[in-house]
């Protein structure tokens, strides 16, 4: 190899090291948000921690496949949801599928009829729900629905981003999201009204 080639090669290596360090910094800056989604997808804190570590290990190994300028948070969460499907899901208790109330007003109506129409104050009902209620309710809904609800309602992803992360068409995300929200409401209603 002639000398200019060695120089070019050295420059290439330096550039790559810099790009890589930048990628790693940007990915780490998103760790809180990634953890938050993981925490709602799996049952326990420990599992969420493991899942996030696996996600970052895979992300750092395959950093070259990330296209700079695209949505890094979505890219990381795509790795995370795939890992979650691969690993835990088979072991997780399969939630019982209950017939869904096919109405969006379900929970509000149920509360209204239990408390008397005048007493329906949204905040009062929501106050009865604890931090744990949501964890329990999410654990009890089917995983595909849960993924959609967690990504859109907690992760703040658009339908399009969620579709990309879950690798399904947007229409599928929307129908899973709507069914997931209804299932979640049913569980929360049972929790709030005992």
């Amino acid at each position: 190899m002639s000398e200019p080639d060695t120089e070019t090669e050295a420059r290439r290596i330096a550039t790559e090291a810099r790009d890589r360090a930048r990628f790693e910094e940007e990915a780490l800056a998103l760790a809180d948000q990634v953890y938050r989604v993981a925490r709602r997808l799996v049952g326990s804190r420990e599992e969420a921690e493991d899942l996030v570590q696996e996600t970052y290990a895979r992300a750092f190994r395959s950093w070259r496949s990330f296209t700079p300028g695209t949505n890094l948070r979505a890219w990381l969460l795509r790795i995370l949801t795939n890992l979650n499907v691969d690993r835990g899901r088979k072991l997780q208790r399969t939630p019982q599928t209950q017939p869904l109330e096919e109405t969006d007003y379900y929970l509000a109506n149920k509360v209204a009829s239990a408390a008397g129409e005048e007493a329906l104050e949204a905040d009062e009902v929501v106050e009865r729900l604890s931090q744990d209620s949501i964890v329990k309710a999410l654990a009890d809904i089917p995983p595909q629905y849960r993924d959609a609800v967690v990504l859109v309602d907690i992760g703040d992803f658009t339908y399009a981003d969620a579709a990309q992360i879950l690798d399904v068409p947007i229409g599928t995300v929307m129908s899973r999201l709507h069914r997931g929200r209804r299932a979640l409401k049913q569980h929360l209603a049972e929790e709030a009204l005992g």
Partner: protein
């Protein structure tokens, strides 16, 4: 007084809160909500429920996790 059947308003509920309605549908929902106490209460309820779902999830990483993640930097594709 209500001009639209409430079923239509319920149908628009999720997309209204997601802000994905068309302009025409948005105006339809807004004008119905202004007139219909029943739907207005239910929309308000749904909104606070969504806030609950979002805010209960505002949990920071456990201490120590960031350090573990930082240690993963530089992982090789072959390792």
């Amino acid at each position: 007084m209500s001009h639209e059947p409430c079923g239509r308003c319920e149908e628009l509920l999720q997309d209204y809160l997601d802000r994905t309605l068309t302009d025409v549908e948005w105006r339809e929902a807004e004008s119905h909500l202004a007139d219909c106490d029943y739907c207005a209460r239910r929309y308000k309820f749904e909104e606070s429920l969504r806030r609950y779902v979002r805010t209960t999830a505002l949990e920071r990483m456990p201490p120590g996790l960031m350090a573990k993640l930082s240690e993963l930097r530089g992982l090789d594709a072959t390792s």
